[in-house]
């Protein structure tokens, strides 16, 4: 059953990721990216990270992608043209991509031969309680710094996107 779910959602994730890369229209890419994020959230559940799975759905597939789609609509971004890429790049790109994937996979399978297995429900340390406890004890300083980062990001976004006032 674990294998079935892993293969199902890994396949969905990879198919949607390929779709992100090859779709011409930005809206189609954005919707494919939502599919990638949702299937990664299911894999998080299988790995015992239930809080992160929900945060992935809410923050990534919800907030961030809505922001993306909002900007695509606002700028009226149409399909991009394929012209201008050199012939060598179009010819060599896919084989080089497969070579990169294969070398990464080979290195991983070599480096972690007996790295343990994942069963659903085998790790229960990813609840909101555990995450919250770790955030407010061991990782309190990074957590507070994060709030400053978000404040800076809000101010930066407002300053960049506001209308020029003379």
């Amino acid at each position: 059953m674990d294998f079935l779910f892993f293969f199902l959602f890994a396949f969905i994730a990879v198919a949607c990721a390929v779709s992100v890369v090859v779709q011409k229209h930005p809206i189609a890419s954005a919707l494919s990216l939502v599919g990638v994020m949702a299937s990664i959230a299911v894999l998080y559940l299988q790995l015992g990270a239930e809080f992160l799975a929900m945060a992935q759905i809410i923050v990534y597939a919800g907030a961030v992608m809505v922001l993306f789609i909002f900007v695509i609509m606002l700028l009226n971004a149409g399909a991009e043209s394929r012209a201008g890429r050199s012939y060598a790049a179009q010819l060599m790109g896919p084989p080089l991509l497969v070579a990169l994937m294969a070398s990464l996979g080979f290195a991983i399978m070599r480096g972690f031969p007996g790295g343990g297995t994942v069963k659903f429900d085998s790790f229960q340390g990813g609840t909101a309680q555990n995450i919250g406890y770790a955030l407010f004890t061991d990782y309190l300083l990074p957590f507070e710094v994060t709030s400053v980062l978000i404040l800076v990001a809000i101010l930066g976004a407002i300053v960049l996107a506001r209308k020029e006032m003379d």
Binding site: V21, L43, L47, A63, M109, T117, F123, G126, A153
Partner: protein, 112 residues
């Protein structure tokens, strides 16, 4: 490969390295999109795809070591990605307002 397949016990669960391979594949696809796409918005989405791939391997390692630290790292990556998306999309809006284009080949005023 044959003995690798024999050593996999279907009852024991999914090997942790398969999650890492999936993460590597998603990351490679993100790199490919980052390099080949021309629309600045799609390039930005491919960056998000790479961040997601790295998050997946963080969570897989957290499961292997039975520690919550990997989840905390993923949490911070999510926060940084959200902040980055807000600022980056504001920059895209400004660039489009000034240059009237989304093609990254035409946004080259820092060249030379």
């Amino acid at each position: 490969m044959a003995e690798a397949m024999q050593s996999i016990n279907l009852q024991a669960g999914v090997p942790i390295s398969w999650y890492l391979v999936l993460s590597a594949v998603l990351f490679s696809l993100g790199v490919a999109g980052f390099l080949f796409r021309k629309s600045i918005i799609t390039v930005f989405m491919c960056i998000e795809l790479m961040l997601n791939a790295v998050n997946l391997s963080f969570v897989a390692f957290a499961n292997q070591h039975k520690q919550v630290s990997g989840h905390i790292f993923t949490f911070f990556v999510m926060v940084v990605a959200a902040a980055e998306a807000a600022v980056g999309l504001a920059i895209i809006l400004t660039v489009f307002k000034n240059r009237e284009t989304l093609n990254i080949d035409e946004i080259n005023s820092l060249k030379n």
